[in-house]
């Protein structure tokens, strides 16, 4: 019993170290220059993909990995994880992308992308998926 608990603590500690190391390297890389599309903490990319299918983003965008996403209204979203600018305006950071997805009309009023009333976590999951497109 006692040994098990020690083992558990050790494991947990090593997990914490690993997370700290990853976080540190991410900050370090981010500090180095633009890393377009760093991944979004806590996002669920599989759920994001499902949402993209349900919401109908594919009616306007070509999106790799989403069935029937062949729309020709907005820009294709391939390589989105490596793009620099969102809507020709904002640097491609997770915060900006989520803001864009939640309310594109607030950022570029009158652009063709509708406000789809996404909730915060929905926008985060979608952003996570888009950042897997590298």
């Amino acid at each position: 019993m006692f040994r098990l608990r020690v083992l558990g603590q050790l494991l947990r500690a090593s997990g914490a170290i690993r997370i700290a190391a990853v976080a540190a390297s991410t900050f370090w890389l981010a500090g180095c220059g633009p890393v377009a599309g760093a991944s979004v903490p806590g996002g669920d990319s599989a759920h994001g993909a499902k949402l993209i299918g349900h919401l109908g983003c594919g009616a306007c965008h070509i999106i790799p990995g989403i069935s029937q996403a062949e729309g020709l209204v907005g820009p294709p979203l391939d390589h989105f994880g490596r793009r620099m600018i969102i809507a020709g305006l904002l640097p491609n950071t997770p915060e900006n992308l989520e803001a864009w997805l939640e309310n594109p009309q607030a950022i570029v009023p009158g652009n063709a992308m509708p406000n789809m009333e996404l909730k915060k976590d929905e926008a985060r999951d979608i952003a996570t998926y888009l950042y897997t497109l590298r």
């Binding site: 919401l55 009616a59 306007c60 062949e70 009023p109 009158g110 063709a112």
Partner: protein
């Protein structure tokens, strides 16, 4: 004797997978029904047909099983002592015992086929007309490339409703359907409720349907009618009678007047879309495209092509030709702000 036993056992082992396959067929309805299955039906028109379908299927399976067993037994069973392969041993040429079996086979087959025929004709007679005594609702449905227009007929012209692609009906009441083809031949099929009936230009075909429980039943055009034939679905939505009446009353109302900030969207709609589409209560009065007065009450767009979400709605208006190539709504090359205003207005048409 021992050899025969062994052979039979071997044969029965070979038959086991077949039997399992047949049994698993019967397990199908237990899973979620596929949207276009005709092995599960609903309503007084579908029940007799579905029983008939299952009945004939089971009879066929029994016949196949018996035949397979007999053929297998025949193959492994030795009639003559080992080594005696002379032609005299074949019984057909001695006393005609084999011919008697042929006679048996023909008689049994004849009885089964005749029974099936009677059953089939009885079912056809039973479903050919709606049950007498009730005066059913009549819907006139026009199939056209590649969507369905419906008119709910009524003696009172102000109660005639025009809508598209999603037809509500009251549960437990027969509904007459008059079918017209506007351009080429289409075919109206709601597998869970009613068999196929063609919609032919210049002719009115009649059929009927009735649902006995609430639900959303998918229908499909089943006569190849051009490029987007596969995207020519529709839905029959069965509601409890009071819900249906409420739906009908709501659908008959014209669109609510546009609010101040939707005025511009409404104007643009009349200008760009009004020659094809109707929104009752506005100047948009076109009749060659789906009535959009209550478009937001529909769950799908463009004859089942897209779920009706804000993204799909705006995407459809922005590029109908890349979503459903060849359909009769052209790409309109709207500017972003015009598209936004028009679709913001559309989304108020509840």
């Amino acid at each position: 004797m021992n050899a025969i036993n062994r052979d039979t056992r071997r044969a029965s082992r070979a038959l086991a997978p077949l039997a399992f396959g047949i049994l698993s067929l019967f397990a199908l309805p237990a899973r979620a029904a596929p949207p276009l299955t005709y092995m599960i039906g609903d309503g007084p028109k579908a029940y007799p047909v579905v029983s008939l379908t299952w009945g004939l299927l089971i009879i066929s399976l029994i016949v196949i099983t018996i035949m397979t067993v007999l053929v297998c037994l025949g193959a492994v069973h030795r009639r003559s002592p080992r080594g005696d392969l002379s032609i005299e041993a074949v019984p057909l040429l001695h006393g005609g015992a084999g011919l008697r079996w042929v006679g048996f086979g023909v008689v049994i087959t004849g009885i089964v086929l005749f029974g099936s025929l009677i059953w089939t004709m009885a079912v056809l007679a039973r479903v050919s007309n709606p049950p007498a005594g009730k005066s059913p609702l009549t819907i006139e449905i026009t199939g056209q490339q590649w969507w369905w227009k419906a008119r709910y007929l009524s003696a009172d012209p102000s109660k005639v409703l025009t809508t598209a692609d999603e037809f509500h009906i009251p549960v437990g009441q027969p509904v007459r359907v008059k079918l017209i083809g506007a351009d080429v031949i289409h075919n109206f099929w709601v597998p869970a409720l009613t068999g196929k009936m063609q919609a032919i230009p210049g002719k009115i075909n009649e059929t009927w349907l009735e649902a006995s429980k609430p639900g959303r039943y998918r229908g499909q055009c089943t006569e190849y009618c051009g490029w987007q034939h596969a995207h020519m679905a529709f839905f029959v939505v069965a509601d409890p009678p009071d819900v249906f009446q409420a739906w009908l009353t709501k659908q008959l109302e014209p669109a609510a007047p546009a609010s101040a900030q939707d005025q511009h969207g409404q104007q643009l709609f009349q200008q760009h879309c009004g020659l094809c589409h109707t929104v009752r209560g506005t100047l948009a009065g076109g009749t060659v495209a789906p009535d959009l007065t209550h478009v937001m009450s529909r769950e799908t767009l463009a004859a089942g092509t897209l779920p009706n979400t804000p993204g799909n709605l705006v995407g459809w208006v922005a590029n109908p030709q890349s979503i459903k190539p060849g359909n009769n709504m052209p790409d309109l090359f709207l500017s972003g702000p015009d598209l936004t205003d028009i679709t913001t207005y559309l989304r108020t048409l509840k």
